[in-house]
Assembly symmetry: C3
Homo-oligomer: 269 residues x 3
Amino acid sequence: MTALGSPGATLAAIRARGPLVHNITNFVAMDLAANALLAVGASPLMAHAREEVAEVVGAADALTVNMGTFSPPWVEAAELAAGEARRLGKPWTLDPVGVGATGFRRENGRRLAACGPSLVRGNASEILALSGLAAGGGRGVDSADTVQGAASAADALARRLNCVVAVTGPVDRVTDGERVARVANGHPLMTRVTALGCSLTAVSGACLAVEPDPFLAALHALALVGVAGEQAAATAAGPGSFRVGYLDSLHGLTPDALEAAARLQEGDS
Amino acid sequence: MTALGSPGATLAAIRARGPLVHNITNFVAMDLAANALLAVGASPLMAHAREEVAEVVGAADALTVNMGTFSPPWVEAAELAAGEARRLGKPWTLDPVGVGATGFRRENGRRLAACGPSLVRGNASEILALSGLAAGGGRGVDSADTVQGAASAADALARRLNCVVAVTGPVDRVTDGERVARVANGHPLMTRVTALGCSLTAVSGACLAVEPDPFLAALHALALVGVAGEQAAATAAGPGSFRVGYLDSLHGLTPDALEAAARLQEGDS
Amino acid sequence: MTALGSPGATLAAIRARGPLVHNITNFVAMDLAANALLAVGASPLMAHAREEVAEVVGAADALTVNMGTFSPPWVEAAELAAGEARRLGKPWTLDPVGVGATGFRRENGRRLAACGPSLVRGNASEILALSGLAAGGGRGVDSADTVQGAASAADALARRLNCVVAVTGPVDRVTDGERVARVANGHPLMTRVTALGCSLTAVSGACLAVEPDPFLAALHALALVGVAGEQAAATAAGPGSFRVGYLDSLHGLTPDALEAAARLQEGDS
């Protein structure tokens, strides 16, 4: 698993360093995003006021931007924060929630993508829309397209933005435009809990803070969240108890257990 | 139970069609509202920016508006969305949270009621306040009045707005100004969990999306949420585990089990 | 325990009177703050629109202000609400979340402290920053300083603002500038769940509403939340199930059990 790094080592580094992750995220996701970061051993900070976002980025180890319920002041603050992250060489993740759903979201997605993310994390429909390959698309914030169907759009987006693109689905696919790998962890119940994907985006910030290669950081975040989801699903009675168990698992997962359960694979098949 | 339709059939239709429900709701309720919709099989979308709400309504199957923590931009966005729903003939629910509590909320309630909701869902104090029969009233967002004490106010409101009015309490009462029915499901722990009523409002959007008669849709939403609450209460150790079990039950409830447990009654007694 | 009052009697009074607590709090904390208040038997109301906050304070028994994700309109609304509380002689709590983190938060903290809180509740870093004894400080919203290291800053702040200052940590310390007491309840898992401290701030509002001495009210809130945390930790598998059990315990805790488990101590050692 050398070429794909060690998810366990990344988790151990998060636990050891406790990176500060600045999140500008949607109203639905804030609670779960902050709790997921605390559970893995990182320190979350939510701040969106334009008066302070640049200063918060200066203190943080990574930034995540999730445009789920954005209104214009939030977009402006996210642009300020992302620009500062770029200027300081700090990694940041863009989660283009529902980017294909409205003209407003398409414009927000374009503006934020232009700020140079280290990682773009979305479902197939979102990546297709952001990549400009899909004319419209996007039903709510769920994905109506397949991960593999978004592969070439993801590759093109990664090359155009010079970043890593992670497309999540039953089997996740990550590319930096050159390398490709897949992560076969996770469970269908994860699609029945709101903000689960947003919590992955938050956790990716913690991984980016400790793993300098964003391609590996994205893979390890997907494995970490996916394995925690599998563990939670094993005893969950439904989406309510699944969400509880997911946070317990993120907290209790050891680096060795993660390493053993992670299902990373190079290439497209 | 013919005159009151089949709650089980409504749930089955939600599961089969996965309607997209657009919610403009308060900050406290967003998480539970989205999770309740996912649990019953619908697809939630939260969006409040004035730049996109009309377009979101265009893509959605139903809209719900919950004015709990509204500030003026949110009221304006809700008016835009409700107006578009009306124009397109799409159903929408108004939840007038704490409408009697302040002059600002009274004005917001008046403005939103004027947009022509398909369904108004509130506790007795809220319906009394909105109906203009109560001079002031409303202690916090809890109800200080009784469901039966709000019956004539609810009837008048339903006739004035040409909509369905659901007053929730120990036994819920639904009217369209002509028909009256009651739902005797639920559990007292539901009043000890924030946003439980808001999640009912969200679920009502899913029911309105698949059941064309809003009177029946309201009854079925009340039965669905009430039965899930009863199941959750059976094993809950308190409001924390109740909330978890409530989502599990919404997800696990079968149409047959709902049909068997629903306690719908025609008339006022 | 006479000089430190009776936590059990305070809890019993909350259950008997059901005080209405108005909260102007951050987006992350709203859900848990409202649920904690409901669980202890109080009635929460979240409202932040400048158009209504003064009227809400007029109806409420206490106010809490938590500046976690504030932007300028929220600061302005909190100032209006706090001023009205002061004018009406109603108690209010200030939670200066991350006050040392940015210049914007420092300015917000200064402005809100100038509104005359009854109680300031923060971790050691926050109290040091607010007291002006720390030049910068504050890593995220966690505490990098010790409770005892913030003791003189807390005393000075309490005297300057003529209020009670509660510094939370492994052992909490409360002072009104004259009296000092400590609370040795709680559990380390409480630092791994977002908004736990914010929920304490909300619960302090309920205690202030029924206990006229804010020094005692602060102690009793700390004991109540700390004992609930201990009970929850006894069976929790991690932060997810801990949060669930915490709300169950807040709801199920009897005044006698609280009285027996509370570990209040006079003085600094």
